[in-house]
């Protein structure tokens, strides 16, 4: 064993392999986190531009830019990339990998090699998704939900896309498994369960959903592949199969997946707020437990995606009730965050602005979710732009906003550089404006009856579509400014100290960027994660 040189950070460390191999064969959780980050930003930008072109097509009725088939392929791709490659794995894979071990005072995750395998599975799934575009019968055009029987009949390259999603699920399972074992086994001295930072609690709840829900969608997608190749009949109505069963199995995963996306984001809010309110978190226990409660109840609400699919009235009523119950633990979090801010000496810096944007847009998304969760109103707006607006407010406004919020919060730690805060603040505000111009008109046109996933529309909807498209220009500009600002900071940013924001959790006690083994001396925890002495 060679001795660790203390003043060397993990970027400078020269291991067995040099250059690019030092990254591709690394088992360092921090390097793996950075590799995820690079991949994810790339996919996000690609999917963002796909969305941008979809909006451009919808500027005028009829054909503006592309053929209907291309439009169908684009919304499928936008969904598949955003959901499976960005939103679901985003926070756990990037920030979970980088910060989970540091926050619990460990040197790495429990299974570092599995961790690297998980990255390779992720990349394999991503590459397969790209391959599905250029081979076989053309671009997959089923939408990201792959509903049967169309996904069985479509002559486009659906099987490859399904298999890509299957592999991505596997990657997600491996990450979840790794995190659970890490949290159970590698907490440092004094790091009891209730001294863990709340982001770790978010990751812990998420990891359980990843493990318990992902296999179900795995088998479902696999069966659709079997159906396409062999015609086993389990989902094909022509052979006696039941398409509704597909929907059940699909949403048994894909609804909990919504909580995979949001729980780490909520954990992140619980990190950022105490740091900038300069006081300890209010209601630590309830926030931690509400994560578990959301994970648990979130498991039992999938039926609300199927209110109009033809399931029984009894089950619809039960699913509707359970859906409302999720609002309780979510509300507990919101109130505790606000109580934390109350009488704090608040310092408004970039990450906190992100959190405020999050609370605003996520509340709109959450409240409109209640409209969709109640049976009678749902029937009016189901499968319209109302739904599109709702899940963009929740997913993009929730997880997406905080992905960038987290990136700004931890950027100094990850790269050791500070970004230009003025430009960052400007881009967040612009982001907020563009976001609302883009998605808010969708609520209105959805309520008026504009169906989702349509290539064409009636002239009366044109004004809403046009406002929305203009919003997309603003939003894309904001995101590009945000990303370029960070890239510039990578090169020219001022050196960040070990604790530029005044955070209290363990990651702020070590140098930025962290040394190879995170801690030179194994830390010992004696106080709560947000206690200020």
């Amino acid at each position: 064993m060679e001795a660790t040189i203390n003043n060397e950070n993990f970027y400078q460390y020269k291991g067995k392999h040099k250059g690019i191999l030092g990254w591709l064969l690394t088992t360092d959780h921090k390097r793996i986190g950075i590799m995820y980050l690079a991949a994810m930003i790339t996919f996000f930008v690609v999917a963002m531009f796909i969305g941008f072109f979809m909006r451009l097509e919808l500027l005028t009725p009829g054909q503006t830019l592309m053929k209907p088939e291309v439009y169908n392929a684009l919304f499928t791709l936008h969904g598949v990339i955003m959901i499976f490659l960005f939103i679901v794995p985003g926070l756990p894979a990037v920030f979970g990998n980088f910060f989970l071990p540091i926050m619990i005072g460990a040197k790495d995750v429990s299974f570092p090699r599995l961790n690297l395998l998980s990255w390779y599975l992720y990349m394999a799934g991503a590459i397969l998704a790209v391959v599905s575009l250029f081979t076989g019968g053309g671009l997959p055009d089923t939408g990201w939900t792959f509903y049967v029987p169309y996904s069985i009949r479509s002559t486009s390259n659906v099987s490859t896309a399904l298999f890509a999603a299957f592999i991505l699920g596997f990657s997600s399972i491996v990450t979840g498994l790794n995190f659970i074992v890490t949290i159970h086994r590698l907490r440092c001295k004094g790091m009891t369960w209730f001294k863990m930072p709340l982001f770790v609690w978010g990751l812990y709840s998420t990891a359980w959903i990843q493990i318990l829900a992902t296999p179900v969608v795995g088998i479902t997608l696999l069966l659709v592949i079997f159906e396409r190749f062999f015609g086993i009949g389990v989902f094909d109505p022509a052979l006696g199969g039941d398409p509704i069963l597909f929907q059940h199995l699909f949403w048994i995963y894909s609804h909990p997946a919504v909580y995979i996306m949001i729980l780490p984001a909520m954990g992140l809010v619980s990190e950022i707020i105490p740091t900038f309110a300069k006081k300890t978190i209010f209601g630590y226990g309830p926030i931690a437990m509400s994560s578990l409660a959301i994970a648990f109840v979130g498991y039992l609400v999938w039926g609300h995606h199927m209110f109009t699919s033809g399931i029984s009235d009894t089950s619809r009523a039960i699913f509707s009730l359970l859906t409302f119950i999720v609002a309780i633990p979510s509300g507990i979090k919101i109130f505790n965050w606000i109580a934390t801010l109350y009488k704090g000496s608040i310092e408004v810096r970039t990450p906190l602005i992100f959190v405020m944007v999050f609370i605003f847009v996520f509340s709109i998304g959450g409240l409109t979710g209640l409209v969709l969760g109640s049976l009678n109103t749902d029937i009016h707006v189901t499968d319209t732009y109302y739904v599109v607006a709702h899940f963009h407010y929740v997913m993009f406004g929730g997880m997406g906003t905080l992905f960038f919020g987290g990136l700004h919060y931890w950027f100094p730690k990850m790269f050791g550089k500070m970004f230009n805060e003025k430009v960052a603040n400007f881009s967040v505000v612009l982001f907020m404006i563009g976001f609302n111009i883009l998605y808010f008109p969708m609520f209105i046109m959805g309520y008026l009856g504009m169906p989702r996933r349509y290539y064409d529309f009636l002239p009366e909807f044109q004004i809403y579509h046009q406002i929305s498209t203009i919003g997309s220009w603003v939003l894309v500009t904001a995101i590009l400014i945000m990303i370029i600002n960070l890239i510039v900071a990578l090169k020219n940013g001022k050196k960040a100290g070990s604790d530029p924001w005044g955070g209290t959790t363990l990651e702020w006690t070590i140098p930025s960027p962290p040394p190879l083994e995170n801690f030179d001396i194994e830390p010992e925890v004696t106080k709560g994660p947000y206690d200020r002495v």
Binding site: S110, R185, L212, T214, V216, G231, L245
Partner: protein, 199 residues
């Protein structure tokens, strides 16, 4: 790289978590089985008569015995008897292979009679029977894949025992491989009655 850190308890915990995911993977198909059996009870019984109970029973005995030999292999290694351990492990692999050979003949006979999805005989059957055989092929097929994977894992363990990388004081990988093999076994214990025995 970071210092070698050994945590047998953690490794086993990871394995158990992985087994949960496998159970849920098959759980999705068991759910489909339950739903379709409920919808077509008579057709499922009719279709079940076409399976060869003897072959199924032989395969059940083979798998159960192979689970026993895996355990014996671990115990032998714990008692420092490398040769015996390798013997038991090889026996397990042989049982796995025997299972697959049996399965090959069983599937082969079905396919020969035209009982497979899109096959001539299956086309004459009712929807319920078609679903039964669709599930039969999907579930036993996926189970067969797991047998193959289990055998590959056990073969790795065999090599590592041979090379003294798995020893009487470091055998957690063997135990984990054994756990996986038991899982494959236990899934079969459910598949067997559901497809062969319920008449």
């Amino acid at each position: 790289m970071s210092q070698i850190h050994r945590d047998d308890f953690g490794s086993k915990m990871g394995m158990w978590l992985f087994l949960f995911t496998e159970l849920l993977l098959f759980g999705g198909m068991f759910l489909l089985y339950a739903a379709y059996r409920f919808a077509h009870p008579a057709e499922f019984v009719l279709a079940a008569y076409r399976l060869d109970v003897t072959l199924g029973t032989v395969n059940t005995i083979i798998l159960l015995t192979s689970s026993l030999t895996v355990v014996l292999g671990i115990v032998a290694l714990q008692r420092n008897s490398k040769k015996l351990s390798i013997f038991f492990l090889s026996t397990t692999l042989a049982f796995g292979l025997a299972f697959l050979v049996n399965k090959y003949f069983e599937w082969g006979a079905k396919i020969h009679h035209g009982i497979y999805p899109k096959g001539p005989e299956l086309a004459n059957m009712s929807d319920g029977e078609g679903l039964y055989f669709g599930l039969y092929y999907a579930m036993t097929g996926l189970h067969g894949v797991h047998i193959v994977v289990g055998m590959i894992i056990l073969a790795f363990v065999l090599v590592q025992i041979y090379k003294n990388k798995i020893t009487s004081d470091n055998f957690v990988r063997f135990e984990n491989a054994g756990l996986y093999w038991h899982l494959v076994d236990i899934i079969w214990i459910f598949l067997f009655p559901l497809f062969y025995l319920i008449h």
